[in-house]
């Protein structure tokens, strides 16, 4: 169990688990947006804009995990 092996393991785990949470979050978010658009098609522009902003927030969390993974693998 050298440190280098554990670092690679940690890098893989970090982004793997991070993407799980982000995937679930985005699925819920986009699903709710589609539901809202189906109920009231005239506000779909507003819903789409808010969804894009929400996706950026959720994706940022997954990208923090990716940055940690890069640090672990390449250092």
């Amino acid at each position: 169990m050298e440190a280098a092996g554990l670092a690679y393991l940690g890098g893989g785990l970090s982004i793997g688990l991070g993407a799980c949470g982000a995937g679930i979050g985005m699925g819920i978010l986009v699903g709710k947006t589609v539901e809202g658009m189906a109920r009231q098609p005239e506000v779909s522009g507003l819903l789409r804009t808010t969804m894009i902003i929400g996706i950026a927030f959720v994706e940022a969390l997954a990208l923090y995990a990716l940055v940690i993974s890069f640090l672990l693998i390449f250092k």
């Binding site: 804009t49 894009i52 902003i53 950026a56 994706e59 940022a60 990208l63 923090y64 940055v67």
Partner: protein, 244 residues
Amino acid sequence: MDLLHHFELHPIVEIHVLGIDLSITKAVVMMWIACGLTFFFLVMGGRKAKLVPSGLQNFVEAIIGFLRSNLILETLGEEGVAWFPFIATIFFFIVFCNLLGLIPGAFTATSNINVTATLAVIVFLCTQGAGVAKHGPLGYLKKFVPKGIPLWIVPIMLPIEIISQFAKPFSLAVRLFANMTAGHGVILVFLFMILMFKSWAITAVPLIGVVVMSAFEIFVALIQAYIFSILAAMYIAEAVQEAH
């Protein structure tokens, strides 16, 4: 197989001023090109403005109209229109920086954490400055503690508010940096797959992957610039709004 060497910067012209390394690297050249493109794109769109626009003027006006209504009027309101040139400049600079990186042989300036951190620090200074200018230094600090909450919550809430003030520009920087790096990194991984298999027959599959990922990257470049600008506008609006 060293993926990272495409993201490393080597100085083209070495300039050292008082011990600070100001060498001109590929990222600096790309940022100059992005600034030049922004300038020419907007100036050419505004030249000889006709009352009924067509061509480039129409395109530029459409983008500016979209930015104005969507970014400024919704977040900052009518009196926030003074912030519009700043937010629009940030948007166009980030769009051109991101899109230039997709040209083979060019470097994405925003995939360097220093560039995005600089942009985030500028936004941070603007939010703090706007808040202090509107409310005065003491009034701005008083906004961290809303009225009407029990006194024992304040020692918990104040550090959280202060940390969140610093975490917001940090997340702006990391979001843009990681999106750009990850996107171009995926394209590089696909290209390395072609080299790795060393066979002409397999070349088609990673090539399709590269084309699809590049198309997705164009989309992500626009979205990330839009997200950065609208979050910057929202943070400024939050600093300027009246305490509730």
